[in-house]
């Protein structure tokens, strides 16, 4: 008797699980966020989540998103990928097959975005990675898009800037060989710099592995060379350690970074050591205008710190996704068909006016956008220094 009750209960529970639409009042569009809420770069996940919350608020204020003749709510599902490649694929599969999302935003860093992109592509679900700059993320994957420029563009920007600004003829590089993003970017930079100054002009090309805390041996080697500046395309949790140890070992020449430096957390961790350094990024918060300023002010008021590039790019990527959903002209309710329609619409978007610049996707799913070189000013703000367009 009791066993039968248990079975009945289970059937009831199963029924409820399978029919979520029955007990939801208005229909909602589900978008998954595959982001690093814990792990090495939790601030990146936090920024992405906050940006999504702001989108949600704005959609609510507008009274929902109109797709064809129907109005929908937007529902974001935040899933933590722990900043690990294997968790990012598991998270993508969960979002696609269990949560039945229409599209996915993220993962943010290339190390997770490259494997997760593969999953999204094979499950035919549109994905926009707001922050992944490695070319492999979108290569030969019609369902995968990104919201930022590529490392193949960023590498030469760094090389040109250093040549003009520091009059650099020789460069040193220190990067994490076990992570796709630093490795890819370091190689693109090396290629670009050697094209400008001839082979052998990158006099030190030193590596370490993720989670290393001591770089003294590598930095000693770099110190012994006659490099004019050090390029280190690392994440915000490693940059302070690298910069501080370089200074402790007597390095006085410039150090330059890439878009992974641009986290709101960098200056909390790095302090005075990072002031006066340059890095390339997607937008500069100090001195922004128009819609960008509006976003920054709103974010600052709500979360009490200046949003970093990840937050801005995530904001743009989500609106891109919503725009594509609107452009489908109506959802059928058949998730496979809808996902295909959203993907088709994403490729058709022209001159999307985002807060990080205008976006039009190439057939690979990459927008062509300008890069910004930012200087960290004495107050610790990221100040606009120069803009470089393709």
């Amino acid at each position: 008797m009791r066993k039968r009750m248990v079975i009945r209960g289970l059937c009831l529970a199963l029924g409820l699980m399978l029919t979520p639409c029955v007990w939801a009042k208005t229909e909602s569009i589900k978008i998954g966020l595959n982001i690093p809420l814990t792990g090495d770069i939790p601030k990146v996940g936090e920024g992405s989540k906050y940006a999504a919350e702001m989108v949600k608020e704005q959609v609510k204020a507008q009274g929902g998103i109109k797709v064809g003749s129907k109005t929908y709510d937007v529902e974001f599902i935040y899933e933590d990928n722990e900043s690990k490649a294997e968790s990012a694929t598991a998270t993508a599969i969960k979002l696609i097959t269990q949560d039945m999302v229409l599209g996915i935003i993220g993962p943010q860093s290339s190390k997770q975005a490259i494997p997760a992109g593969e999953i999204n592509n094979s499950y035919r679900t549109p994905m926009i990675s707001p922050w992944s700059t490695n070319p492999q993320t979108t290569q030969d994957r019609p369902y995968v898009f990104r919201g930022c420029f590529l490392d193949a563009f960023q590498g030469p920007v760094v090389a040109n800037f250093a040549t003009q600004e520091f009059k650099a003829k020789k460069a040193a590089v220190l990067y994490d060989i076990a992570s796709d993003y630093p490795k890819g970017l370091a190689e693109f930079f090396k290629k670009a710099f050697e094209k400008l100054h001839g082979p052998g002009s990158v006099v030190a090309f030193e590596t370490f592995t993720t989670k290393d805390r001591d770089f003294s041996a590598q930095l000693t080697k770099i110190n012994r060379t006659d490099a004019d500046f050090l390029f280190t395309p690392q994440y915000y949790d490693e940059v302070p350690l690298i910069v501080k140890q370089a200074h402790e070992l007597g390095w006085k020449k410039p150090i330059m970074g890439s878009d992974s430096w641009g986290s709101a957390e960098l200056m909390n961790l790095c302090g005075d050591d990072c002031k006066g350094l340059f890095f390339t990024t997607h937008y500069a918060a100090a001195g922004a205008k128009g819609a960008t300023k509006e976003f920054i002010d709103k974010y600052k008021q709500k979360f009490r710190y200046v949003p970093d590039d990840v937050a801005a790019l995530t904001w743009d990527s989500i609106w891109l996704m919503l725009k594509a959903i609107q452009n489908t002209g109506g959802l059928t309710g058949n998730i496979d068909k809808d996902r295909d329609a959203v993907k088709d619409q994403l490729t058709k978007i022209r001159d999307f006016d985002g807060i990080t610049g205008k976006m039009t996707f190439t057939p690979e799913g990459d927008p062509s956008k300008c890069a910004v070189v930012v200087k960290i000013n004495p107050k610790g703000e990221f100040e606009f220094y120069q803009s470089v367009c393709p």
Binding site: L37, T38, G39, D40, P42, K43, E46, I177, A178, E206, T207, F208, T209, K211, D212, R213, D214, S216, A217, Q218, T220, K221, N223, R224, D237, P240, L241, K244, H247, E248, L249, G250, E265, N268, L269, C270, G271
Partner: protein, 310 residues
């Protein structure tokens, strides 16, 4: 490698090895007395670093509730070290009370206690993650950093302090274990855990004392570590803890000299391999060498063979 880079890397390796040595001492002390591999020790190091962070920021007056006077930074540093060592010793003793002692009382095999230690380490890591979140924290600069360059070799006052602290701790622990009564009791327990209590030695007191020593050394290492590498994260103790354990085994676990030499040896190998080869070879070569050491001397450099399990 020219002679200046050699000396530069020598100093780098001394600092890096000091941390391994300080943590390895904790493994070796507990093992020497209880024959227990306290796998939670790396995480006690992490807890020490976090306690140090909160003590330091409190003393600097970063919270609403703060001290009436403003202390100079070096006084804050010394106070931070002392308070952190005391508090972390408390954590170590609590761990022993809650996790290890009940099992020991029930006469559980050593294997179960080792697994409990592994679990305790994971609980500390993830407890910290749940309690404080995944955000990195920056340890405040308590000591005004001074960079000296002597004959092309550059070092900071923090580096010198770390190396001196490791040497000082070594001398202190050797003295405690070799010269004092409680040290003698510690050594006696490791020889025979059945006979020693019969001689009227309070075995639990000695074990608590051992945990106090080991944990406070981990706290010292934690505060010094974040002074040198000022980014705190919940998993910072895991990798360095494992490596320090290997250092302790290579030196001969249970021997204080062994932990000390093993820690420095590992530090030297790691830094010099990274200085000569690409960094991807570092762990491969480092642990290859250590494996060779163990092949020829399975009990470690200073270890004495004993019949035992686990």
């Amino acid at each position: 490698m020219d002679i200046q880079s050699f000396f530069q890397n020598l100093i780098n390796a001394m600092q890096w090895g000091s941390f391994y040595a300080l943590i390895a001492l904790g493994y070796t002390l507990v093992y020497g007395v209880l024959l227990l591999i306290n796998f939670a020790h790396g995480d006690i190091f992490m807890v020490g670093a976090y306690i140090g962070f909160f003590v330091a920021t409190f003393l600097l007056g970063s919270y609403a509730f703060h001290l009436p006077t403003v202390l100079p930074p070096h006084v804050v540093f010394i106070l931070t070290l002392l308070i952190t060592m005391i508090l972390t010793a408390g954590v170590g003793v609590t761990l022993e009370r809650v996790a290890y002692r009940p099992l020991r009382r029930k006469g559980a095999g050593r294997l179960y206690i080792v697994i409990t230690a592994l679990m305790a380490g994971l609980i500390l890591e993830n407890g910290n993650l749940a309690l404080l979140g995944a955000s990195r924290r920056a340890f405040p600069d308590l000591i005004e950093k001074a960079v000296y360059t002597v004959w092309g070799v550059t070092f900071t006052n923090v580096k010198i302090m770390v190396i001196l602290a490791a040497l000082g701790v070594f001398v202190l622990l050797e003295a405690i274990v070799r010269k004092t009564k409680i040290g003698m009791a510690m050594r006696a327990i490791s020889y025979d855990r059945v006979a020693v209590p019969l001689m009227g030695i309070p075995i639990d007191t000695v074990i608590v004392f051992t945990f106090i020593l080991g944990s406070s050394m981990a706290a010292l290492a934690g505060v010094l570590f974040v002074s040198a590498y000022p980014v705190l994260e919940p998993y910072m103790g895991a990798m360095i803890g494992w490596k320090a354990f290997i250092a302790a085994v290579v030196g001969g676990i249970g021997e204080i000299r062994g932990a000390f030499i093993g820690g420095f040896l590992l530090g030297f190998i790691e830094i010099f391999v990274a200085a000569v080869f690409p960094s991807t070879f570092r762990d491969l070569i480092a642990f290859g060498i250590l494996l060779l050491f163990l092949t020829f001397k399975p009990t470690g450099i200073f270890g004495v063979a004993r019949a035992q399990k686990i």
